[in-house]
Symmetry: C2
Subunit: 454 residues, 2 copies
């Protein structure tokens, strides 16, 4: 126990420093440097045990060479920030060290999951919050559930006879949608060719790069007309449902058959916390149950409809609910709303700051729909270059160079990527409640400091 308290001491120091802006976001090293053993940090495993003292050193080194994703100037991913209540929830979860598959060994967590999913369905707008759902290990798996359930809905015999019991199937999703939709299609045996039968349409609420919202109502009209399953991938944008100001961007979501919604993104819940929500009750069970008698005994003394294991494609399932439930208790629905409104305001601030600033070009015009702000930084040496292939090629290298320097200096982190015919641009996102306008200013200063002489 003394050991555990010493680790807690290391961790609380780490947390304090993470929120201190004079601390660097990261201390970058290349893989070969870390593998060679930085200052005695030996990653190799051995036959003989190490001393507890050495284990504490290993813990310190692990944090030292990692990335502070909770730092107010870490903008690199959709999941950022470090919520202390959520963290405490996760520490409790790992101490309880149990499994979601039965009420028997996770009574409280199973009920928390049920109540929270119901609340989320109410917020989506399904009557009385009815329906079904599960927390799954991330948005990609949640999206995979949606494709599986849709397939089961239209062709239940696939479950026993395989894909040959269905015609050749195809799914529809937009070019900007998350790649996990295509991945799920590939895994589940859908093809991508003309003449295949469509049964599933994905509408994205908050695309990964642009933060764009598909028009759910228009898509729902088409799905109703042609009897197609409508899934809304709100992994990133689902959180906006908590905000009275922003939830109109998901207007029509209540017409979806299934929704992916990741509280570990826009709602600041520690990783992992992703929900798949389904309008039709019982279909998850129908789709996935294999009636494993050794795990789900029907003759238990409690109401076994509370056992969730046979609904899942997993057997053991990590307890992802508690940290979220605890944060909800501590913040209330209104607290999540404030968090989301605040992050979107910060994005508007960034957008207004750079939209007409010399040296910036926006990737798309108009106010950001989500917290995504996508832009090119044009170094002074390029500002008078004529449009053309040469400029494109040079501009393509600007963001990677600035990013590499950012990581070397460790001051901040922001993502970049190309998209379609657009060369590399920065994608700024904000989901960290610790970030302020001064951090946005710092990012812009830093981009200009590092990019000025490119």
């Amino acid at each position: 126990m003394q050991f555990l308290l010493e680790v807690v001491d290391i961790l609380t120091n780490y947390i304090r420093k993470t929120f201190d802006r004079s601390t660097k976001v990261l201390d970058f090293h290349h893989p070969h440097q870390l593998l060679e053993g930085m200052e005695g940090f030996n990653l190799e495993l051995s036959d003989q045990p190490e001393s507890l003292e050495q284990i504490l050193v290993d813990c310190r080194d692990t944090l030292k060479y990692g990335v502070r994703t909770g730092h107010p100037r870490f903008f690199n991913q959709l999941s950022t920030g470090l919520d202390i209540i959520g963290l405490a929830g996760e520490w409790l979860t790992s101490t309880a060290n149990t499994n979601m598959f039965t009420y028997e060994i996770a009574p409280v967590f199973v009920l928390m999951e049920q109540l929270t999913l119901k609340k989320m369905r109410e917020i989506i707008g399904w009557p009385n919050g009815e329906g079904d759902g599960l927390f799954s290990p991330g948005g990609a798996i949640s999206n995979m559930y949606s494709v599986m359930i849709a397939r089961y809905k239209y062709f239940p015999e696939v479950k026993t006879k395989g894909m040959s019991a269905a015609p050749r199937l195809v799914l529809f999703t937009s070019e900007h949608s998350h790649y996990s939709i295509t991945k799920a299609g590939a895994a589940l045996g859908f093809g991508k060719e003309n003449g295949y039968v469509p049964l599933f349409v994905n509408a994205t609420a908050g695309t990964t790069v642009y933060g764009a919202f598909d028009p759910i109502n228009d898509i729902a009209d088409i799905c109703e007309k042609y009897n197609l399953w409508l899934h809304v991938d709100g992994a990133w944008g689902g959180g906006l449902l908590m905000s009275r100001r922003h939830r109109h961007k998901l207007s029509g979501v209540e017409r979806a058959n299934s929704v992916t919604w990741n509280p570990h993104k826009m709602m600041g819940v520690p990783l992992q916390c992703s929900a798949i929500l389904v309008r039709e009750k019982g279909i998850l069970q129908g789709c996935n149950s294999m009636c494993a008698g050794y795990l789900f005994q029907p003759d238990k003394q409690y109401d076994v409809t509370y056992d969730t294991g046979d609904k899942a494609i997993q057997c053991g399932r990590h307890v992802d609910i508690f940290k979220f439930w605890l944060m909800w208790k501590a913040k209330g629905t209104v607290g999540f709303e404030q968090h989301i409104d605040r992050c979107l305001e910060l994005s508007e601030y960034l957008y207004n700051k750079i939209k007409n600033r010399p040296g910036y070009e926006m990737v798309f015009q108009g106010e950001p729909q989500h917290t995504n702000v996508c832009f090119w930084y044009i170094p002074p040496s390029m500002r008078n270059m004529p449009d053309g292939e040469e400029r494109r090629e040079r501009l393509h290298k600007v963001a990677p160079k600035i990013k590499a320097m950012m990581m070397e200096s460790g001051t901040t982190m922001v993502g970049y990527q190309p998209q379609g015919d657009k060369v590399n641009f920065f994608r700024m996102v904000i989901s960290n409640h610790a970030a302020t306008r001064s951090d946005i200013d710092f990012l812009i200063d830093e981009i200009e400091r590092l990019g000025h002489d490119l």
Copy 2:
């Protein structure tokens, strides 16, 4: 931070009590009782925030009404125990709150995963530990990976054209294998009918109920002859590879194309920690990559072959490696070996204790292969009953009744289930390093105390 330390105080008290045998394993309540609000424990979420004091009460109540899976007398699941080093590792992991998909944001964890998977492949016996692998959110997903990879190996065009690019496929697995193999087959569009083309054979190393080991070498001979993919599901039995005394039970595992191995089961690592290991290098990437340019930029300043995201069916992936790596550092390979040998000795102790004891019938004869010991307890009133339907029906109800009373009294927990034509029997398993012979004695006393008058 004060709040976090108060939660730590709650958690360390909980841990101390968990290891104290005078503490109950659980304080059982029915779902409706918990939902009605036990002593003010309100599970419902609300719009307004709760005070931090109330949040601390919520934490205490969550633990109070939960199940102590780390208690030395909790024998209910394959994953039991509470390793303090592993727990510290998990607390650090949630504090780091990052994601395995790129080296960029998880440099240390990505390297730890790589080195640990290599070590596991060496232990399996693949030359130089070469091959590939990932930690996944549980054995069911690891098994699903194996089926996906096998399908890709034989019919790579399924990835783009769907299952219609392959003949009707079927997989082989034994009746006692884990249901996740069948579930993976159903998800991936395999059927279960005669005349379908086999491409995948699963051999189980440590079945869930009996702890039995399939003869891997014999199965490998057949797979080689017919050019089939051989997967070894060692979710439960894989840990025995760490023991020089017991690893012969997996003899032939080095001939497998893929192996599932869950350190969170027999090796006592906190949940979740499951590895899928693959002999052929590069095939995970081939099978799963979708080349998402916005996440996996090829023009980063470091060697991007260290990015793991495009190998996975997940996008975000929880850091499951650190607790395992830290435990390995602290115990050494020899420490895991001792843990496994000790658990198997305890099972032998139990087997020898009850095999000839009045009132016990073993479900199968012979020394246990794993820590599973399966048995019926026959109450005195039934000991002279002739074999037949009436006895079967009564016996079927004995284990559920004893289990229900166990849970009500909260003293210990052990699983039961029917299997094929066998009526409900107890399945005892041991993976908790805190368990001793006295705990085994206690379990048997408790079964007899509760079952005596049935």
